[in-house]
């Protein structure tokens, strides 16, 4: 382990690595700060850029983008009261009132500090917990991996808040797309219609760009064009939070960071839940809860450190088990795979130095975020004001460029266009998009291990239930899958009882 840490340190503390991380955080921040651009869209759009740097450098840049974008989302939440991501909705509750009182500067500096510390604490937790989990997972074989993939898929029901059925449909579509191409177990080609392009399956990145960037840009052409963005006048007096504020929020930051890390590590949750729980806890522990919602510094610090500490927490199941916790980490998982890293327990065993480089890289990314957040506040205030009429054409062009640049193949551009317009109709008909990506990513893992297990057991499905770990995981998966449906039924029953 010590050897791995040393190798990682020489890799990360080099000029090129730091520059690449810095660049990633910067780009992520800009995307996150633009109103209406989500973290998923940022990663989908900027992922092709990370291809300029091969191997680990590309991965580091991606992590930088992730950390930067999660933080950037709160800039527009605070300044415009239009949260860029669900995760920063809670931030707007106290951030915007503080801005209206003329303290935009103070709100932003509290948000930056809390986000940075939250991120750093979560990375420390990641470093401590994940090697242990990976060691435990090393004993896994095909049935456990199938159970794990199934568990990963079961979070689809909790990310599909509006309709579980529609979410599951999206998920099965993703699984189905993943079967196109050569079957990994037998070498048999499936659903390729004798085309060479489909032999390796539809490439992941054009679909990603189509679903998360192109379709979203179309939605914003429909909904936001012509809307006038409120203007903010911000005077920058000081860039660091005052000592008084710091003393007020330090306990809140610590508590919220631990909450966020823990919540982030549970698949199916995410930044929004972490932010709201942190906010509520801060209010509950506060001596002056009546000030919440009116610009309380703790009301900004809690959701900010909560949603940023999700980044480290979410990396725990991602790196150790190879399953994503939400749509953002699903994309990161896919991106890591495209960059040649296969997350899972074997990654820790075989590429330990890479794992520690990722840990250190995340730490550096959070520090970069703090520095950039404080130094470039003025720039981000300007970024927030870019009108949609300029932003949308830019995003559309970047979708084309990104889809093309991955394989230098014009077919990828058409795939992006088609998935983009399909994505647009799906969003309009209220089908969630993230299950498609979760299905796409976990599909091959689920199928290969399902069939491998059945080879081991000569076709007997009891293999999944007689092995304790896989049995427990499958039960958890079924509970996760049906939890939202059960809750709905219980709620309905209750309201019936109350009415009667």
């Amino acid at each position: 382990m010590a050897e791995n840490i040393l190798t990682a340190m020489t890799q990360i503390f080099s000029f090129s690595s730091i520059i690449v991380i810095f660049l990633g955080v910067f780009l992520g921040l800009v995307i996150g700060a633009l109103p209406g651009l989500t973290v998923t869209m940022g990663i989908a759009l900027l992922f092709p850029v990370t291809f300029a740097f091969d191997g680990l450098l590309g991965v580091l840049m991606l992590l930088g983008i992730y950390v930067g974008a999660v933080y950037g989302g709160s800039v527009s939440a605070i300044l415009l009261n239009t949260p860029g991501t669900p995760a920063s909705v809670a931030t707007a509750m106290d951030g915007y009132p503080m801005v209206k009182q003329g303290d935009a500067n103070r709100a932003l500096s509290i948000s930056t500090l809390s986000s940075g510390i939250g991120g750093i604490i979560s990375v420390i937790a990641l470093v401590l917990v994940s090697p242990l989990l990976a060691k435990f997972a090393l004993g896994f074989s095909a049935p456990e991996y199938f159970a794990l993939a199934f568990f990963g898929l079961s979070i689809i029901s909790s990310v599909s808040s509006q309709s579980v059925i529609k979410g599951l449909i999206s998920g099965v579509l993703g699984l189905l797309i993943a079967t196109i191409g050569v079957d990994t177990l037998t070498g048999y080609t499936r659903f390729t219609f004798d085309t060479i392009y489909l032999l390796e399956g539809i490439s992941f990145i054009p679909i990603l760009i189509g679903l998360f960037a192109f379709s979203q840009a179309l939605i914003s052409v429909e909904e936001d064009l012509g809307k006038i963005i409120g203007s903010v006048k911000v005077k920058i007096k000081r860039i660091l939070p005052s000592k008084e504020d710091f003393n007020k929020i330090k306990v809140t930051i610590l508590r919220s960071s631990l909450i966020g890390t823990f919540i982030g590590s549970i698949p199916g949750t995410g930044g929004d839940i972490a932010a709201f729980i942190s906010y509520n806890e801060a209010k509950r522990f506060s001596k002056e809860p009546e000030k919440f919602g009116k610009g309380a510094p703790e009301g900004i610090a809690a959701p900010e450190s909560g949603n940023n500490s999700v980044t480290g927490g979410a990396m725990v199941p991602l790196l150790t088990l190879g399953i994503p916790g939400d749509s953002v980490t699903a994309i990161i998982l896919g991106a890591l795979m495209v960059q040649g890293l296969q997350p899972g327990p074997l990654l820790f065993k075989e590429q330990g130095d890479q794992v520690y480089s990722i840990f250190l890289g995340l730490l550096v990314a959070n520090i970069c975020m703090l520095i950039l957040g404080f130094l470039a506040i003025k720039l981000f205030i300007k970024v927030v004001k870019v009108p949609k009429s300029i932003l949308s054409p830019l995003i559309l062009v970047l979708c084309f460029v990104g889809a093309f640049a991955i394989n230098n193949n014009i077919v990828d551009v058409y795939v992006m266009l088609i998935t983009g317009i399909i994505g647009y109709f799906l969003i309009k008909l209220k089908y969630p998009i993230s299950p498609i990506v979760i299905g796409l990513i976990l599909g091959p893992m689920a199928e290969a291990n399902l069939r491998r297990s059945l080879v081991l057991s000569h076709g007997d499905i009891s293999i999944f239930f007689t092995r304790p770990v896989s049995a427990v995981l499958l039960i958890l998966a079924i509970l996760t899958l049906f939890y939202p449906i059960l809750m709905k039924l219980i709620k309905r029953k209750r309201s019936h009882v109350e009415k009667a």
Partner: protein, 148 residues
């Protein structure tokens, strides 16, 4: 919404049936375990079941939600999509950069950028950015013109 649920369900049943049909000729059994057709067939069946649930759910529930595919705003989206399709074809014939400049100018004007100088400046900056990042650093071989 009901109409659209039924429409989507019909599409899904179709897709499910096609998947099952295409999977039927794959080897049935490989090393005493199900072959390559086993898993897609399950997915096909799942899709059909979900489609039925979708229709049932939509007819049991009263929904006042309306989805308008021909509103003024929606038509704006189709026009934009049309522009992107033209762009994708154009870049093949007149080359990537010329097509990009034309696309950016048209979409910005269409989306209501009033100041002409802003259109020119933004088009220039965006194209320059793409050139530096993708052409210079990534060596992306963008399509060049093939008309002449």
């Amino acid at each position: 919404m009901k109409k659209w649920d039924a429409f989507v369900a019909a599409l899904l049943v179709g897709l499910g049936l096609v998947t099952i049909y295409l999977s039927k000729d794959f080897p049935k059994e490989v090393s005493s375990a199900p072959g390559p057709g086993f898993y897609p067939t399950i997915l096909g069946i799942l899709l059909i079941i979900l489609a039925i649930l979708l229709v049932l759910n939509s007819f049991l529930k009263q929904s006042s939600q309306k989805t308008n595919f021909w509103s003024k705003e929606a038509r704006r989206v189709y026009f934009t999509f049309g522009l992107t399709v033209i762009y994708s074809i154009l870049m093949y014939y007149v080359g990537f950069y010329l097509a990009t400049v034309l696309f950016l100018v048209t979409t910005m004007l269409f989306m209501g950028v009033k100041k002409k100088w802003l259109v020119v400046v933004m088009t220039f900056l965006i194209t320059l950015f793409i050139f530096i990042v993708f052409d210079y650093f990534l060596h992306t071989p963008f399509p060049t013109q093939r008309l002449f």
